[in-house]
Symmetry: C2
Subunit: 607 residues, 2 copies
């Protein structure tokens, strides 16, 4: 059992390799346990642990392309592919884990195991207790996410994978991925956490409570010892119907069912389509899932609380982490909230870790990570890349001049740099070539641009800098850059303060509205000026807060911001002459200013 | 029974009349029904209908100050005040309905009745069926919101109130208020609908479905004929626990319970505080409510669908409405969504009705209308006012000159006018004095300003004009005004298009950025100009899209907008001279332009 099973490369037709669906099957491993059995976090002991798992893809000769996928609450080991007798993919994440997919089976060797406490082949309450020869039932001990993770860790070691490229999980799987990063820091190079959080919210907990109450008060539940008799199907169905409401957004429910009524409702039967759907989900679930497993795994999820575990601080919880982390929030998810993912990213940053964070549109809600994998695939694929992919095309020479000037202003001792409104990451690429020791993080609000930055090997956070860098803790970076974006901010003064909150030094470049061409255009043309650097019309311009060099320097003075260096750039001949004559406010078309916090060293927000 | 009961004015101590809590008691009326009994919308018949109701406040001699309050799903007639033996108010809306409250008992005479199908004194499934002498149980017929409303209507007539000043309802009570407006158009002068909608959303329906399933599959339910035996307490508790989750926002749950655990949880007992809270709510409810009543009233609510009833059009549904309407959405409400209130307001506007619409912050969620009544009180009080309250203080003479010019530009035949970014309603007040035949509606994004506009007797909609006037149907008004606010819009071009979508003619006034002082300040001062009309600094100015007169006229030309009249205003002597010399672009500090849709008459969005 110690050796990994050799991965069988799939034969695929030559015309379209990515359309091939790999054939997968469930295997079973009995864990090699120390004498006395597997000790659980809450004190229980399991004398025997069997684990059901599946693999897909091809293991590299160096065994360095393994990705462990952790499944969600009621999932199983069948993450991708089809059975031999099936013609279509039946794995629960087949859209993501496939040749050419977000987790690309042409690149990675994927492993997925059913969790401890489950009822899909891994030891759980419906398994036979070797001590009695009867199903565990009510005597199955309480389990935690740490136990669930440790069982997978033991399995992986037994299969010969003491180290993997990445651990990926969504929802409850994301909690497992987080727990892996904290409990087994050397295990994975990368950890991706999707639609998850450091714990359940109060509201999510409340839904679990009602589901659990419904099961426990079902007369057939009999305290959990129902094996051999009727099962608590009614209660389990209610719990599942309820859970299914939380997996979809209200918008998706509206789209899918609206208020449509069934054509010919039977007496006592469902009237509305949504009613029929929920009843169907409930009925399907009681056929495949065990009520005790549901209670035990929900119990582990309800109990999971990274923050509490580390004395109330996520940064402390993340201190041991070594992996590069990706945190993905889904916008329409109301079970695991975007603010929870933001808290994860903030905690990782505060602990000084490499973090990328995305917030993707997901109108369907929580389930989107399973069913709408388009954008998520491109994010995951970029994150999992083992080598950065940086475009080598030449940059606009005008830009190169700006970038060179900007790069020269970077403090010599800086090790981390944040580029706000980073675009495609061109500036970070430029800096990385000249200063490879610098660890770059970009912020942008466009998903494709952020994905390109991520592919360049940088960390990236999808965020609107204008809404504040709330996810970024104080002093998280050595230097912050805001290049040619000051004027698009709704509150440029607050953005400046934010820059100098997250880093002691900032470099800001912006177009100079005082340049002679602009008042001249107003005075003699009678219209708002349109220039190369300000090419928009008055009504659709993103440049809503233009200023002159003097305006900017005034603001710095008023806010106690120290100006370390001011560089005037200009291209027009007349401007150059004006610059040389000392009329820099009239001459320069753009300006780069290096600023730092005032002498008091205090945060500029608290003068 | 035909005569109304004389309202007993409460004795209040002289020092603080509004602190007195009125004493209220439940009265009972047996409805005078036609022979054959009360015919229900779905075909059933009730031979006898008793109604429990309460009254509070003093009836005016003219009997013109009656406000009917409709209660929510599991409410009752005890809307306000205290019982003789109580020292504190115990009514479910005591914070709102009290002397000096949003529904001011010093001004209005309030009536509230328990709904048909209920279990708080009005005929319902637990009442005795006179035909058998046994409780109705499963034989109690299906009821609808129309039946519930008709019973209240009959009660009011019987009490001598064939016409009332207003009907007010929140949540399910809001559905009743809407139904009153549509079914009995002459009944009320005003109708206020709070945190409600034209129907339940798919998601809200789904929650009801799960609750109903839990009751119906409780073994003690026995098809509804459980009277005399054990009650289906388990199922009813689950339904209530679930409903309680939907009444609170996630934020409020977080604040109230977070993930706190109970100090000494008992085996099998609740572990988390939220768990204990929900169990308590469930247990409390089964003591006071009947499962069959819950199913019947939920059934009426699930079935209610104003849109469907009128062939899919809310505008058609609202055609009969005569009352002035107020629609209030709560921002944190996820059971009845703000977009549903917006749909109500849009439907009423499309039907040509007088509508005011608010969207109030309510971080607690749906229950906010019951517990956080501050802002809601001020809105309701302003809406219920029987005479407009317009300030008579003198307006800035500068402003008077603008308003006069603007008023002269209003089309002679206009009957309705929309003032976008209306502020306190000063311009609408001004126009109302000179053109009393004009029906004014304001839009503003500040609640206090919108409330002042409402108190002035105008309709008002709380909305961000910049986000589009999506709630306003095409051609809802004869003329639209945008006074001194073009430059604060994020997309002024789109706002112009919106103005000419909701009205054929618009009048727009704005500061002229081409005025000589501005380029002069840039050129000679080197800083962004600060003037009387543009008093802000570059970084915090709301004026983010400034333009010159020429710029504005260019845009109109590009978009096929016809400019009917352009008026240049200036105050400075030099400007006046420049204006007279024809250099109006340099001379005028502000401009008023009257525009209308292009010759094609088409919506400018579809040229």
């Amino acid at each position: 059992m110690k050796r990994a099973l050799p991965a069988t490369p799939e034969r695929r037709p030559a015309f379209d390799p990515s359309s091939a669906i790999p054939v997968t099957e469930t295997r079973f491993a009995r864990l090699e346990l120390p004498p006395g059995g597997f000790r659980l976090e809450k004190g229980g002991v399991l004398p025997r642990v069997d684990v059901a798992y599946e693999t897909a893809g091809t293991l590299s000769p160096e065994r360095d392309n393994v990705v462990l996928v952790c499944h969600a609450l009621t999932g199983d080991a069948h993450v991708c592919g089809r059975r031999r007798w099936e013609s279509a993919a039946s794995g629960w994440w087949s859209d993501m884990v496939k040749p050419g997919g977000g987790i690309d089976l042409d690149r990675y060797f994927v492993v997925c195991a059913n969790v401890l406490g489950g009822c899909m082949g891994t030891t759980g309450p419906s398994s036979v207790d070797p001590g009695t020869g009867e199903p565990w039932g009510s005597r199955f001990p309480e389990i935690t996410v740490a136990d669930i993770v440790d069982v997978q860790f033991l399995l992986m070691r037994q299969l010969g994978f003491g180290h993997v490229h990445a651990v990926v999980g969504g929802s409850f799987g994301g909690m497992q991925a987080l727990c892996f990063a904290v409990r087994h820091p050397g295990f994975a190079d990368k950890v991706a956490v999707i639609a998850s959080g450091p714990s359940l919210t109060s509201q999510a907990l409340a839904f679990d409570v009602v589901g659990r109450n419904a099961i426990e008060q079902d007369p057939d539940f009999r305290g959990g010892d129902y094996y051999g008799g009727p099962r608590p199907a009614g209660g389990l169905a209610i719990a599942r119907e309820l859970a299914h409401i939380t997996y979809l957004s209200g918008e998706m429910m509206k789209k899918k069912f609206g208020r449509r009524r069934r054509d010919a409702p039977q007496a006592g039967g469902p009237i509305f389509e949504v009613e029929s759907y929920l009843r169907h989900q409930g009925a399907k679930f009681i056929g495949r899932f065990d009520a005790n497993s549901y209670l035990r795994i929900c119990g582990a999820m309800d109990d999971f609380d990274l923050e509490k575990q580390a004395g109330g601080s996520l940064a402390a919880a993340f201190a041991p982490v070594k992996a590069r982390a990706l945190v993905v929030a889904l916008e329409g998810d109301w079970l695991f909230l975007p603010r929870q993912s933001e808290a994860l990213a903030g905690g990782l940053l505060a602990a000084g870790k490499d973090v990328s964070a995305f917030r993707l549109d997901a109108p369907s809600g929580h389930d989107s990570f399973l069913i709408h994998t388009g954008e998520l695939s491109s994010v995951l694929a970029a994150f999992l890349l083992r080598e950065p992919s940086r475009p080598t095309a030449a940059i606009d020479p005008d830009l190169v001049r700006d970038y060179e000037a900007l790069e020269r202003m970077l403090p010599q001792r800086a090790r981390t740099v944040l580029d706000v409104a980073c675009g495609d990451g061109t500036l970070l690429d430029f800096v990385a070539r000249r200063r490879p020791e610098l660890d770059g993080t970009g912020i942008d609000l466009s998903v494709p641009r952020a994905v390109r930055t991520l592919r360049g090997g940088h960390n990236v956070m999808l965020a609107d800098a204008d809404a504040g860098l709330s996810a970024v803790p104080d002093d998280a970076f050595d230097c912050a850059i805001l290049s040619e974006s000051l004027q698009v901010m709704r509150r440029p003064d607050r953005v400046l303060e934010e820059l100098l909150r997250v880093a002691p030094v900032a470099i800001v470049s912006f177009p100079n509205f005082g340049m002679w061409k602009i008042p001249a255009a107003l005075l003699f043309g009678g219209r708002m000026p349109v220039t190369k650097r300000l090419p928009y019309r008055w009504y659709d311009t993103p440049n809503i807060h233009l200023c002159t060099v003097k305006d900017f320097l005034d603001l710095c003075r008023d806010r106690g911001i120290v100006v370390e260096e001011t560089l005037h750039l200009s291209t027009l001949a007349l401007s150059k002459i004006l610059n040389r004559l000392g009329a820099k406010n009239l001459g320069s078309s753009r300006v780069i200013v290096k600023i730092r916090r005032g002498a008091s060293g205090a945060n500029p927000r608290q003068p």
